[in-house]
Amino acid sequence: MIKDYFTLAFKNLKHRGVRSWLTLLGIFIGITAVVSLISLGNGLQVAIGSQFGLSETELITVQAGGLNFGPPGSSVSDSLTVDDLEAIEKLSSVKQVARRNLKPGQLEYNNKIIFGYAASVGDGERRKFLYDQLGVETISGRLLEDGDSGKIVLGYNFFMDKVGLEKPVNVGNKVSIEGRKFEVIGILDKQGSFIYDNIVLMNDADMQDLFDYGDTVDIIAVQARDKNDLMSTKEDIEKLLRERRDVKVGKEDFSVSTPESSLDQINGILNGVKIFIAIVASISILIGAIGIINTMTTSVLERRREIGIMKAIGARNENIFYQFFVESSLLGLVGGIAGALFGTFIGFVGTIGINAWVGADIQPTINFSLIFFSLLGSFLLGGLAGISPALEAAKQNPVEVIRG
């Protein structure tokens, strides 16, 4: 009997007009939003994380200004200085520190000008520390060494012609940065991060010449003595800097972030986006449910005669109820299927898009349990929306509806 209801409902749905299908837009949009968001969510997390170099590093980074992801080196009122760096270096929980300056500038090559970031590399132990921590390797040429002057190492995207110069840059080429000629001596291997794949690495002396930033420091990279206790090192640094900069707890004009805290922050942003989309999806689904109630109620009115016939030839009230109930559930399911398919499609295309954009390598995945539950949900929602119209259908009086 249940199978019969489905067969009948399926036949009736097949003969439905465009109007009925349009009412499914709400469910369709809702399910699409949920499925695509969740499919994309993990990709987004990896993508954003990788953009900030939050891979497997165990570095603590110290920056002036509040905790934000604004461009490093952008005007910060009270910059960190070499003095701050040296004070941090003296902390007992700190193993070593590296000075990093990151400056925006223009680069000219092949008669094209692009804007990007140049990052400084210090000398000696600090160079080694930075290379180790970032895990940089060249695919062509070599890394910068102490004493290299007028030489730079470029990120992978320069080599792949992905930075807008319309010509790949290779070892031995000369580029002009802020009006000064530099020789490219190495190309970094792909890092999968927007920042590092587009970076220009330069020795500190050259950078100082070019940008004249004096003893200010954009980022202090800190390696803790105990890598399993980043939190206490972080607290030590915060305490020290509060004293040095004379600020109270909660009023810090600097930020000390561990990979986890940065990740937390990214997750916070992502959760905000998720909540927003969840709200949009809920509203869509609610509208979808109202759409189904509407279309089913209309359907009951249009098919009063059919209901009368069914009753005349032996249908009990519950038979009529179930028929409309199942039909409504199927209607919801159809919206859900369309939404799940489209949502998965968006997840796929979006992931591929993220990969192409940031040069990451995230595998698009199909989340079958997500699809299953969204289909189940839309089926149940359709049924729920159909209860009232189905009850209405069931109580039609055969005598009144059969004539005319």
Partner: protein
């Protein structure tokens, strides 16, 4: 069982009154009708005579305001709506003036529907529907939708449907009302054939010629009452 021995349907002083605004409409006002097994009964009357209401009462589609209706010895005027539907589906086959087929279903599926409500297996339903459609000469058209069939063919599908659950009585409400004379005759001959095979037929019509030509007993209704009853002495065929 020998024809006419067993009382199949009995209406005893049945009334159906409606309140319409201030006035009470006495659609049926105390009629007594007796239908024996194997009879071909016609309920005859002009428009407004109450014959449609009488038909609904006989077919257990409607409950009387007063009086009793017995179907196969059971008082159906007291049954719940659900039980009534069950009884109706099993014991009565309906044929309507406007065919009343379900447009989204093929001829065969339309015939299968009443059996579905009686919980009959899908295979049995299909087999029975096919044989019934062959019986009304529509074996070639069982997968056609109602809108692909002529009026006469639709009414034959309706006849096949009315027989789906082997009902004890077939109730035909103006079965030829929407058909031309020739097609109407074909449909009526099917009914006659069914009656000759022992099936009880009740036909509601406004056409006295039809009533007298095909029915053994004619109840002439007028103003909600039975005006007269005429019986044919010798069966025509």
């Amino acid at each position: 069982m020998v024809k006419g021995e067993k009382i199949l349907i009995e209406l005893k002083n049945v009334k159906k009154h409606y309140q319409m605004g201030e006035t009470v409409v006495k659609a049926v006002d105390g009629i007594t009708i007796q239908v024996n097994e194997g009879d071909f009964v016609a309920i005859m009357g002009p428009s407004g005579s109450g014959k449609s209401t009488a038909m609904n009462l006989v077919g257990s589609l409607d409950a009387p305001t007063d009086g009793h209706i017995f179907l196969d010895g059971q008082d159906i005027s007291t049954l719940s709506e659900s039980d009534l539907a069950q009884v109706r589906g099993r014991k009565i086959g309906f044929i309507f003036q406007s065919f009343n087929l379900i447009p989204n279903l093929t001829a065969k599926e339309n015939v299968m529907i009443p059996m579905m409500f009686q919980g009959i297996d899908l295979e049995d339903r299909e087999e029975k529907a096919e044989s019934l459609l062959s019986l009304v000469d529509l074996g070639e058209r069982m997968n056609h939708y109602p809108n692909e069939l002529s009026g006469g063919q639709r009414q034959r599908v309706a006849i096949a449907r009315s027989l789906a659950n082997d009902p004890e009585v077939v109730l035909a409400d103006e079965p030829t009302g929407n058909l031309d004379t020739k097609t109407g005759e074909i449909v009526l001959n099917f009914l006659k054939k069914l009656n000759e095979e022992g099936r009880t037929i009740i036909m509601v019509t406004h056409d006295p010629n039809l009533a007298q030509e095909y029915a053994d007993i004619v109840y002439w209704l007028k103003d909600g009452k039975v005006d007269k009853i005429t019986k044919r002495k010798v069966r025509k065929s």
